[in-house]
């Protein structure tokens, strides 16, 4: 699946976009995050405080229980501050 990071999550992970081939059993956002935290210390730091991380699956807001599957676009970012 395609994983995107915005704002300070991009700065912490060091990537804006990456293609992630998740191991079997990664079927929710919560499980995907556990996998992503193993990719680098920066990834681990980005997901240290989940209360300030928002997620969108295929461009709609989701939560830790939202299902994810191969081919999905999953984005992580802080609470929005536009307008």
């Amino acid at each position: 699946m395609k994983v995107l990071y915005f704002a300070w999550l991009k700065a912490k992970t060091g990537v804006g976009e990456e293609t992630v081939t998740a191991p079997p059993g990664i079927d929710t956002v919560g499980r995907l995050i556990e996998h992503l935290k193993t990719l680098s210390p920066g990834h681990a730091a980005a997901f240290e405080t989940l209360s300030v991380v928002r997620v969108a699956v295929n461009q709609d807001y989701g939560g830790l229980d939202t299902p994810v599957k191969a081919g999905d676009e999953v984005a992580f970012f802080p609470p929005v501050t536009g307008g």
């Binding site: 915005f6 969108a56 709609d60 984005a75 970012f77 802080p78 929005v80 501050t81 536009g82 307008g83």
Partner: protein, 154 residues
């Protein structure tokens, strides 16, 4: 209509196009958000902001704003709505966002316009980083914005 763009817009031209030739429109409410030159809520306490950069999530931004616009039309009898939001680097005094709503009745125009900006502020995927003499700092989301958006929950 939704427009996401780095370049500035001309509020007068937008307003003229928005209101032209509709004899069933009784009122137009328009809001423009501008870059302030200080951080936070208190001009005395906040560091000077020299500029800011607005990052966004292309694709999701349009999708969320279209959903917000559709929700406004569902809630109020509107003639038309318009949202223009800039991204990229902006300096103090520059326009960031324009939202407008027109209706036969002024209450609907006011309510819808405020709804659009309140929901945009908590749902549209934009992030501001402020550039000050002390360095760059991502802007924190405001509880007051969550409270403003929560007014419209129902």
């Amino acid at each position: 209509m939704i427009r996401i763009q780095p370049q500035d817009f001309d509020p007068g031209a937008e307003l003229a196009a928005f209101s032209s030739g509709k004899t069933s429109v009784g009122g137009i409410c328009l809001f423009i958000g501008l870059v302030r030159d200080y951080m936070g809520h208190d001009p005395e306490a906040g560091s000077e902001v020299r500029a800011m950069t607005l990052e966004h999530y292309p694709g999701m931004t349009e999708r969320q704003l279209e959903a917000i616009e559709a929700e406004a039309h569902r809630r109020w009898p509107l003639e038309d709505t318009l949202v223009i939001h800039r991204h990229g680097r902006l300096e103090p005094g520059e326009r960031i966002v324009l939202v407008a709503a027109s209706s036969a009745h002024r209450d609907a125009a006011f309510e819808a316009c405020r709804f659009l900006i309140d929901w945009l502020k908590t749902k549209a995927p934009f992030w501001k980083i402020e550039h000050t003499q002390d360095g760059d700092a991502w802007v924190d989301a405001k509880d007051s914005d969550d409270a403003a958006a929560a007014r419209w929950d129902k």
